[in-house]
């Protein structure tokens, strides 16, 4: 933020202004703002952002998450829009596991499932991380498309995912639900950001 020295201010010149804004730089709001952050409870596998304001142009979800699912190194992190449980979702993934790269897809699903998160067999305190981007989420003429990058490294093994998802619906996004098998740990943090356009 620009500063104005007292030597040039109205305090020095004794000039009277009718607005406190005179001499100050115009305030330009940031384009990237936090909407909400939800922390896992250890007793629920669902996190929902409701009543998402329509005042932004894009949404970004930032995930630091782990599931309590026993017997697994990693498990799903699924995404659903506006509570739609129909078979209206498509996912595509490019996966690297440190040895090779593969690509796969799933269609006619009841959720987008692109990036897995760490689960109970992963060593303690190792989390999965991901970022999801949803452009033009208030549009009523575009199906909603996400891109995502994330994964989890387990000190010798791990997986990286970059992927995409499609919700075959042109409705504006007003709620987002993320869910996993079993429960989100209390160390899980999922944050929703709004980006102005």
């Amino acid at each position: 933020m620009a500063t104005t020295s007292l030597a040039r201010s109205s305090l020095k010149t004794l000039t009277k202004y009718d607005s406190f804004l005179v001499g100050n730089s115009a305030y330009v709001p940031p384009s990237f703002e936090s909407i909400a952050t939800i922390v896992g409870t250890g007793a629920s596998g669902t996190i929902t952002f409701n009543s998402i304001p329509s005042t932004y142009t894009h949404l970004q979800i930032r995930v630091l998450a782990r599931s309590t699912l026993a017997g697994n190194i990693s498990t799903n992190l699924s995404l659903r829009f506006n509570g739609d449980t129909g078979s209206n979702y498509v996912s595509h993934r490019l996966v690297g596991d440190g040895t090779s790269a593969t690509a796969n897809a799933s269609t006619a699903q009841s959720n987008i499932n692109v990036i897995p998160i760490s689960a109970a067999l992963t060593a303690a305190n190792i989390m999965g991380a991901a970022i999801y981007d949803i452009l033009d989420y208030t549009s009523t003429t575009k199906n909603k498309v996400i891109k995502a990058i994330g994964g989890d490294d387990q000190n010798g093994t791990g997986e990286l995912y970059i992927g995409s998802g499609l919700w075959l619906n042109t409705a504006a996004v007003t709620s987002l639900t993320l869910f996993t098998s079993s429960f989100f740990t209390t160390t899980t943090t999922i944050a929703l950001y709004g980006i102005r356009g």
Binding site: M1, A101, T107, D133, S164, G197
Partner: protein, 173 residues
Amino acid sequence: MATTYQLISSQILGSSSASVTFSSIPATYTDLLLKVSLRSDQAAYTEVFNLRFNGITTTTYSYTAVAGSSGTTSSFAASAETYARSGPTPGSVNTANTFGNAEVYIPGYTVAQNKPIGAFGISETNSANDAWVQSNAALWRSTAAITSITILPIGGPNWVTGSSFYLYGIKNS
């Protein structure tokens, strides 16, 4: 606290257009971030969106990519290009009303060194095949500050109505 992430300009197409240009980009930021939601009228599943800086059409661009599509992975590259290939986006054969989702990060756009570009984009469709997930590294071999960016399809000829383009400035202080 300084505001580090600001919209510079946006364009949403009310009619189809062969290209979109952001001109007179201010030099007051550290990096640029471009977000695009694109669809081309090319009669194919996949279009490629390209960037051209400062209107330069010489063979000073190159790129390297990794991609996944139709159950296979690939990596490819090209040099001496006349634009910076930045990723996939749907063509007219993709599922209706479905646009791509991509962003391009351009660090140090005013610095007197060649300009590296990092891009991540996807082209979706309601099929196990014919979608693309891709990440590109590209290079413009010019030390000039970037003052304009043109986004154009490789096939096209046009970006369709509703395609949207958002240019952000990122400050490091």
